[in-house]
């Protein structure tokens, strides 16, 4: 200890705190909080500005207009006009728009995938013509903006032929004209929900039976006919629930009582519950954080950074609770109302002297007024739908083809050779070795393409297809509720993105496990 006297004066046991303006931890957090504050202040400022600008024009900002009558017609969809038995309110019109978006998006995703996979695989074909043809397809379609393609499709389809009472090609069954295509339609009839609930119920039973069967298969070995017995049971369940679904009518009462029960929840309870949820989640995160710092020898020393982090979590939780309790009680009442409405709608789908037939079908008809038009009975693909649909499908399929090609190329050639060396046949090798691996590469970018397709449905506005953005525009042109409509756009598309990406993530995880 002779020589360390000079240093001991400096080497105190605890770290000396520097002055605050040179304290890096403090600087870091001050800057962050300042930026956060600036961003929030800017937001707050912009919103108030917009509010005052709007109210200067006599436009209150909010969602009170949901139940106003729409006063306009929609081009197409599950409901297009206002009628005494079914009001077309503003919010209803937006629903119809969303449904139209889904119609295009889902159909588009299916067809784009089919075409994309075919083209992508043929780009790797041994055949020169197939390879060339598909690469021309890809290059041609992906290098022209989708909006140009959609508008071009409208121009092309618009030049087909006018709709007359005898337009074919199969009069009365399939009708193609510049107004679109109409074919016979299968639709959900009155008994559908009873059918569905009974079938789900039976399926649960079948699932249990199948588990027993699988267990027996594993115990006894040999062929215990698991697959065929399950199939037979499912068919039987389908038949039973198709014809004998009347007993399920009792669900009407169940849902009705749920409706009234939900509606009678006091708002305070929901508010307090939500606040407790926020605080609880915050507390859990704090606990998890502390847990991660816990060592066998007790809690590890927390750095300044850790303290700030804990403080921040706590602050966010408290602010969230405060918002729920004081600032935005509307959220709670909205939760109550929509829950009640949800059960109300469900209870309307059951019993009360409805038919029990789940599905029904009708042939297309034409309405002949001053102009000939498609009637409501057939499954009609309007020319607007068609041009948007074709544009989306072909454009996206070109990208999907590239994704598929890349995925297959990403599987090392050694994999196929190894599979062959193990004695797998070519088909087996493809199914068990190559495709699963390619799939893992393909899945994320494929999900991205699905997302792009869904977002691109918004281009329907260019051809007058009544999807959500177009309907929303009509709405805010009528009542100037731009802020509210844009918030709905945002929530809708974010929900779509989240859904698609969580599905993709789920599949990816499953595949990763399968691989291991």
């Amino acid at each position: 200890m002779t020589s360390t006297t000079h240093a001991t004066s400096l080497a105190a046991d605890s770290q000396r705190r520097p002055p605050f303006w040179r304290n890096t931890t403090l600087i870091k957090w001050t800057v962050q909080v300042a930026v956060l504050f600036t961003v929030l202040a800017a937001f707050w400022f912009l919103i108030t500005q917009a509010r005052s600008n709007l109210s200067a024009r006599g436009i209150p900002v909010g969602y009170d207009w949901f139940d106003d009558p729409a006063n306009f017609q929609l081009g197409e969809g599950i409901q297009t006009v206002d009628s005494p038995e079914r009001r077309l309110t503003m919010s209803r019109a937006l629903w119809v728009g969303m449904a139209n978006t889904f119609r295009v998006a889902i159909a588009g995703i299916i067809f784009a995938t089919i075409i994309g996979v075919i083209v992508g695989v043929s780009r790797l074909s041994k055949n020169y013509v197939a390879r060339r043809a598909s690469s021309v397809y890809v290059e041609m379609l992906r290098n022209v903006p989708i909006l140009v393609q959609i508008i071009l499709w409208l121009a092309i389809l618009g030049s087909i032929g006018a709709l007359t009472p005898d337009t074919g090609p199969i009069k009365g069954w399939v009708i193609v004209s510049q107004k679109g295509i109409s074919i016979p339609r299968v639709f959900l009839a009155d008994g559908f929900y009873q059918f569905l609930s009974l079938f789900l119920l039976l399926s649960v039973g079948i699932w249990f039976v199948r588990r027993r069967l699988v267990a027996r298969q594993e115990r006894l070995g040999g062929n215990q006919h698991v697959g065929s017995i399950t199939t037979a049971l499912v068919v039987a369940a389908l038949v039973v629930s198709w014809f004998a679904n009347a007993p399920m009518a009792f669900l009407r009462g169940v849902f009705a009582s749920l409706e009234s029960a939900w509606g009678s929840i006091p708002q305070v309870v929901v508010q307090v519950g939500l606040a407790a949820l926020a605080v609880g989640v915050g507390a859990l995160r704090v606990r998890a954080f502390l847990q991660s710092r816990r060592t066998p020898a007790g809690l590890a020393k927390l750095t300044d950074d850790d303290w700030f982090r804990l403080l921040f979590i706590a602050l966010v939780a408290i602010v969230a609770a405060f918002i729920v309790l004081r600032v935005w009680p509307g959220l709670s009442s909205w939760l109550i109302n929509s829950g009640r409405d949800f059960f109300g709608v469900l209870s309307d789908k059951f019993g009360d002297g409805r038919g029990t037939r789940p599905l029904d079908a009708m042939r297309p008809t034409l309405s002949t007024g001053r102009f000939v038009n498609y009637g409501t009975t057939g499954l009609t693909m309007t020319v607007f739908y068609a041009s948007l649909f074709f544009g989306l499908v072909f454009y996206t399929s070109a990208f999907i083809a590239e994704v598929v090609r890349g995925g297959i190329l990403a599987v090392p050639t050694g994999q196929g050779e190894a599979a062959a060396a193990l004695g797998l046949s070519r088909g087996q090798a493809l199914r068990k070795v190559i495709l699963p691996q390619a799939f893992r590469v393909i899945m994320p970018p494929l999900g991205n393409q699905y997302l792009n397709l869904t977002k691109n449905t918004s281009l329907g506005i260019a051809v007058g297809f009544s999807e959500i953005v177009q309907v929303g525009q009509t709405v805010y042109n009528k009542n100037s509720q731009t802020l509210a409509v844009f918030s709905i756009y945002m929530m809708f598309f974010l929900a779509c993105s989240l859904t698609i990406s969580s599905i993709v993530n789920y599949i990816n995880r499953r595949l990763a496990i399968v691989e291991r």
Binding site: M1, A11, Q15, P18, R22, T24, R294, A300, K301
Partner: protein, 257 residues
């Protein structure tokens, strides 16, 4: 501590302390990598740190130039205590040079730019002076002809020598080496070790983490053996290799020699 103090030669004891660590503790999340390290390094001393993988050698020397922040205890480098004081950190960084196992040269800059970057922008030297100094250093490490090349065009040994030159260009008082030869092919190890020996002979204070026992025997003033975040034994090379005191040191040496 008393062991270390006794083994110091009187000559060494009369020098100043440039690095003083007292009870340094460091956690990564819930894992404690340093469990109270006490260490003193004298001016112009060459200290070699030994120890099995994961024993906290890298963590210790990374704490000494604050690439990692320690949580308890104190580290004083050249009279400056390492805290989250902006000025202290700036000062330490420019006085302590470091050489990494993976060289960590900047791949998008030429050798010369690698060396002159910090002198120009941190030390605010005129570009011409920095260039002259860089060429001088390249001469010293024996690769002046590679000045205009990119790191990717050099061999591992050459890259590590550039890394040493880059650290020296800041004219540091202390150099830290974290396994500088572990990523090198055997025939390149010697050229790097020669540079380090020359540096040690010129009176640089050095802490070297290495598994090169020949180097340790020849150059080190003292050896430090670490295990699971603690200093187990400190001693001169002779005493360390011929008569290790601790059981764990013996075991380690028997495995490695």
């Amino acid at each position: 501590m008393s062991i270390a103090d006794q083994s110091l030669t009187t000559e060494l004891a009369s020098r100043n302390d440039v690095i003083v660590c007292r009870g340094v503790k460091k956690w990564f999340g819930d894992f404690q990598a340093l469990r109270g390290v006490d260490l003193t390094v004298k001016d112009r001393e060459v200290l070699v740190v030994l120890g099995p993988s994961g024993s906290g050698k890298s963590t210790l020397i990374r704490c000494i130039n604050r690439l990692e922040a320690h949580q308890e205890g104190s580290i004083v480098v050249d009279g400056v205590e390492l805290t989250n004081d902006l000025r202290n950190i700036e000062k330490i960084r420019s006085e302590v040079g470091m050489v990494f196992q993976q060289f960590n040269l900047f791949p998008h800059l030429t050798v010369l730019d690698n060396i002159t970057l910090a002198p120009v922008w941190v030390r605010k030297k005129p570009k011409a002076d920095a260039l002259a100094k860089a060429m001088e250093l390249l001469e010293r490490v024996g690769i002046p002809e590679q000045a205009a090349k990119f790191p990717g065009q050099l061999s591992g040994g050459q890259q590590q020598r550039v890394a040493i030159a880059r650290a020296l260009a800041m004219e540091p008082k202390i150099m830290l080496f974290d396994e500088p030869t572990s990523a090198l092919d055997p025939e390149m190890i010697k050229e790097v070790l020669d540079v380090m020996k020359e540096l040690a002979n010129s009176g640089m204070t050095m802490i070297v983490v290495t598994h090169e026992m020949g180097f340790a025997r020849e150059v080190a003033d003292r050896l430090v053996f670490m295990e699971s975040g603690e200093i187990v034994e400190v001693g001169t090379p002779d005493q360390f290799f011929s008569a290790p005191r601790e059981e764990r040191t013996k075991k380690f040496l028997s495995q490695i020699l």
